[in-house]
């Protein structure tokens, strides 16, 4: 039993030990049979299946949601680096005792309400150990689902570069870039990020990625 807590530091989540789910490029709204078909009902259903691992842990689950947005919202400062996709607000969005508005949600508060009803975003946090979450405890009863998204690394069309693609660097947990080879260290192999990347892609790209 620890009687002097300041002597103990739990360095949380410092090394990846294995991939579970949620990082593929399939939309929740995509029909599993007809991939050209998209619907909001399907999105809500697939999201709940993913979060409860309804089809066993190793099954294929979707990962992505899409929302309408504008350049004006991106440059307004509300949605530049971070957003919340569920009913939980970002710390600076909590402006009153009764809550606040989802300024960071693509399209704003009204669009959030529309998607919340369609996707049942509130239920993402059902069954969580609220006490453990509020106290930021290391051990909690059951899992906690994420609500906060940081901008991640992706490549967009750019007519001025040689490859016609330009990296938008990530500002989230996994660093500024994600390139082939990263799956090795992310699934817990005893390999460094540098080595994992250099066995998969040319050294120049790997260098660029770092």
């Amino acid at each position: 039993m620890v009687t002097k807590p300041q002597n103990v530091l739990v360095m949380r989540d410092v090394a990846c030990a294995g991939y579970v789910a949620g990082c593929n490029t399939v939309f929740f709204a995509q029909d599993s049979e007809d991939t050209e078909k998209f619907s909001l009902n399907e999105a809500g259903k697939n999201m709940m299946e993913r979060l409860s691992f309804a089809n066993d842990v190793g099954a294929k689950y979707a990962s992505m949601l899409a929302f309408p947005c504008t350049a004006q919202q991106m440059s307004s400062g509300h949605l530049d680096t971070v957003m919340s996709v569920t009913t939980r607000l970002l710390p600076w969005e909590v402006t009153s005792a009764s809550g606040g508005d989802h300024h960071s949600f693509p399209g704003g508060q009204k669009v959030f309400e529309a998607y919340q009803n369609g996707l049942q975003l509130r239920s993402v946090h059902f069954g969580e150990d609220m006490k453990a979450a509020e106290n930021q405890d290391f051990i909690s009863q059951g899992s906690t689902n994420n609500a906060t998204c940081f901008i991640g690394p992706h490549r967009l069309f750019d007519p001025f570069t040689k490859s016609f693609m330009n990296l938008v660097p990530g500002q989230g947990h996994f660093g500024p870039d994600a390139i082939p080879g990263d799956a090795r260290w992310r699934r817990g192999e005893s390999v460094s990020l540098k080595t994992a990347r250099e066995t998969m892609v040319p050294l120049e790209i790997s260098q660029h990625g770092r």
């Binding site: 899409a66 504008t70 300024h103 009204k110 998204c149 490549r155 069309f157």
Partner: protein, 292 residues
């Protein structure tokens, strides 16, 4: 910890991390694995040990005798020595039952989230090179490669209209073009400003036609339309590490005599057990006696 003037001297980590800590970082061996094997001057090397010996040679070449010693010592060497002044202890997993995974207290599931912003080209592409200009390349961890996510797919996944979200929902920050709908038209009549999702969708759909190479006037397209793709539930198993001060200064629980007695209660068909246990948490700063 430095805020409290504490200098840790022990790290507790999952055993799976030891191999990584001992050998994976470049600095440990300074032998980049991408180095091409050079012709070996050691003619005595047997082919089966050739690769291993080369690794050792490279380690020696870059890191000197210390690197080779670290390579030879492996995990055991890492455990035996201190890591930056901290002794290394492992937290071994314990078995729960035959049909359940063992429990590792320092490993847990953890989720993170990312979002990506798709945007149409801000500069008109050359004629005939309009295709794919609104798409994005996103990393897919399951297949370990970049995957092209098209504008059309993303727009469909927004599920606006029909049985999706209502297309008369107002947007908080409409584009300049959407706001300018309110200006007077050529005849002097005011156009109604349209800041709902139906207008947004119409403008976003125009980019699909542009991407397909259809005849679309560049000036009619709205370059301020964006689509946000979110991946909120990226889940991994993650190791954690405890850094602490060893010994009684942090706290200790001493266990004394314990006993376990079982008895069967035939009337209610139950087996009852009693386990008296003596333990004391030290240092006992609150004047509490040892509990029983």
């Amino acid at each position: 910890m430095s805020r409290y003037g504490v200098s840790p001297n022990m790290m507790i980590m999952p055993p799976q991390m030891l191999l990584y800590m001992a050998l994976a970082p470049e600095a440990k061996l300074s032998a980049p694995p991408f180095l091409k094997p050079k012709p070996c001057s050691h003619s005595s090397h047997h082919p089966s040990t050739h690769r291993l010996l080369h690794c050792r040679c490279a380690a020696y070449e870059k890191g000197g005798p210390a690197a080779e010693a670290r390579f030879e010592a492996g995990v055991a060497g890492f455990e035996a020595r201190a890591f930056r002044g901290c002794g290394i202890m492992t937290s071994e997993p314990f078995e729960v039952s035959e049909d359940q995974d063992s429990v590792q207290m320092l490993t847990r599931n953890s989720q993170v989230g990312e979002f990506y912003v798709l945007q149409p080209p801000q500069v008109k592409p050359e004629a005939g090179k309009e295709k794919f200009t609104c798409d994005a390349l996103i990393y897919d961890e399951e297949s370990d490669r970049h995957v092209r996510v098209t504008w059309e797919q993303a727009l469909k996944a927004c599920c606006i209209g029909g049985d999706g979200v209502s297309d008369d929902t107002k947007m908080a920050s409409p584009t300049k073009g959407m706001k300018n709908q309110g200006n007077n038209d050529a005849t002097g009549k005011p156009n109604p400003a349209k800041d709902d999702l139906s207008e947004w969708k119409e403008r976003a759909s125009a980019w699909i036609a542009f991407n397909n190479g259809d005849q679309v006037t560049w000036g009619d397209l709205d370059p301020d339309i964006r689509i946000v793709i979110a991946r909120p539930f990226i889940e991994h198993l993650m190791h954690s590490v405890v850094m602490t001060v060893s010994g009684r200064d942090t706290g200790a629980t001493l266990f004394g005599p314990a006993d376990m007695q079982l008895s069967a209660n035939t009337q209610v068909k139950t087996i009852e057990g009693a386990c008296p246990l003596t333990h004391a948490t030290l240092p006992c700063t609150h004047g509490l006696p040892a509990s029983r």
